[in-house]
Symmetry: C2
């Protein structure tokens, strides 16, 4: 019997492990959610226009989970833009043609960081910002290093514009450039998580960015603090349930991913 | 006598006009500032590490002026990076090696959007965010469209990485892409300014971005709402005093700019 596994078999094995983890996560998260159900002010569930693989959607999914806000997902397929993000119906609610958009309290809100702040201001507990103004500034510094300093330079539309030949070098360059600064910043702010020992908006942004880095084969060894926080976050039910592979629009076949 | 002016003479003429406007703005702003002096909690003036031409520094200068917070400028010369942004002393306070950094209340705060929020939370009046949560979300949507969606793709370091030959096409592409979405967003949010009739953080971000667009020869005719708001903002003393050409580190000779 040949015991050497092909890369395809390894991927399939990883995929099956992930499915088991997904079921565990859903069980854990369902039990947590049942403890503290929160409805919107109108009694309707918010609707999140999301793409399973989008790191900005992931930020918002994490915040909704963290705050125990039940929501429905409407998938926007970024791989079929004419039927998804560029469809007239979607552009009417989000002129940037990007995900996410959150329909909540009767309003469509776009831009993930604007959504995180809206959730914090209308549903403050469990909190994603500290009470003290300077501690809040520390959280927002990290949010901005990621959300304006790294993610915009490595997202799908920029990669497409850069072109297939150059995109891997481009993505690795900007993630490394941002991570060097982030690692240094975290050396003075981090406790268990990005800022001290409480989960914050900064963590909602960090985990998806590290996922993108690993997908783009960024060597994470120069970033021990980022990697340590990643390992703390990836076991928290609200983060697990928000993971791309745990979304309803995540393709079940590897070939479609 | 030859009455035709060369492009050099036209620039010099525009420059002289600007100097006169600068003196007027300083006079107006000085009188406004004298009416409502605000000291920091420690009685020391905040120090803004800034570069005259940086649009992110301009956002913060505008907010400081709007809130009548006297401050000192420490110039960080982005054209001489080894003595400026990449100097060990500066990297020690800002690991991203970018401007601005604000030393205030004994702490260094980096990232312009984090600084704007810190100022709003510690010195709420005159306000740069509305009271209502959804109106605040509208402001932050526009802030993010500019601060994460446009500016990061057209800043100095990205232009340098793209290279001299391609940078103009690159910058125009991303500014136009962002401005199309922004114009549509403003069609539902704008009054006199970006959101209704009150100046907000969104306006602090808009004017520097339009300045960059014009400098990069973006055709502004498809953006009548953005252009109208620009004309409203550019006559407000707090915005005039924050203008790049009104900064102490703005070179006096055109050849150095």
């Amino acid at each position: 019997m040949n015991t050497t596994l092909s890369s395809r078999q390894l991927l399939q094995s990883a995929w099956q492990t992930n499915r088991i983890l997904k079921i565990c996560a859903q069980q854990i998260f369902a039990s947590v959610s049942l403890l503290k159900p929160v409805e919107t002010s109108e009694g309707k569930k918010p609707i999140l226009y999301s793409y399973w693989h989008s790191s900005c959607s992931w930020r918002v999914r994490t915040a909704l989970n963290w705050k125990n806000i039940p929501y429905e997902t409407r998938a926007v397929n970024l791989l079929k833009p004419e039927k998804g993000q560029f469809a007239a119906e979607y552009r009417a609610i989000n002129p940037t043609a990007q995900v996410p958009t959150l329909l909540i309290d009767g309003n469509n809100i776009i831009e993930s960081i604007a959504i995180l702040h809206y959730l914090e201001e209308t549903r403050p507990l469990p909190a994603l910002l500290p009470q003290d103004a300077y501690e809040r500034a520390k959280v927002r510094e990290i949010v901005e290093i990621i959300a304006s300093g790294i993610q915009p330079l490595q997202n799908r539309k920029v990669q497409k514009h850069v072109g297939r030949d150059k995109r891997m070098e481009w993505v690795q360059h900007w993630i490394n450039s941002g991570f060097r600064a982030l690692e240094e910043k975290l050396s003075t702010s981090a406790g268990k998580y990005c800022v001290g020992d409480e989960v914050s908006m900064a963590d909602c942004c960090l985990l998806p960015q590290v996922f993108n880095a690993r997908k783009s084969q960024v060597d994470m060894r120069p970033y021990p603090i980022i990697s340590r926080i990643e390992s703390e976050l990836e076991v928290i039910p609200a983060f697990i349930a928000a993971h791309p592979t745990n979304q309803p629009d995540c393709p079940t076949e590897l070939s479609d991913r």
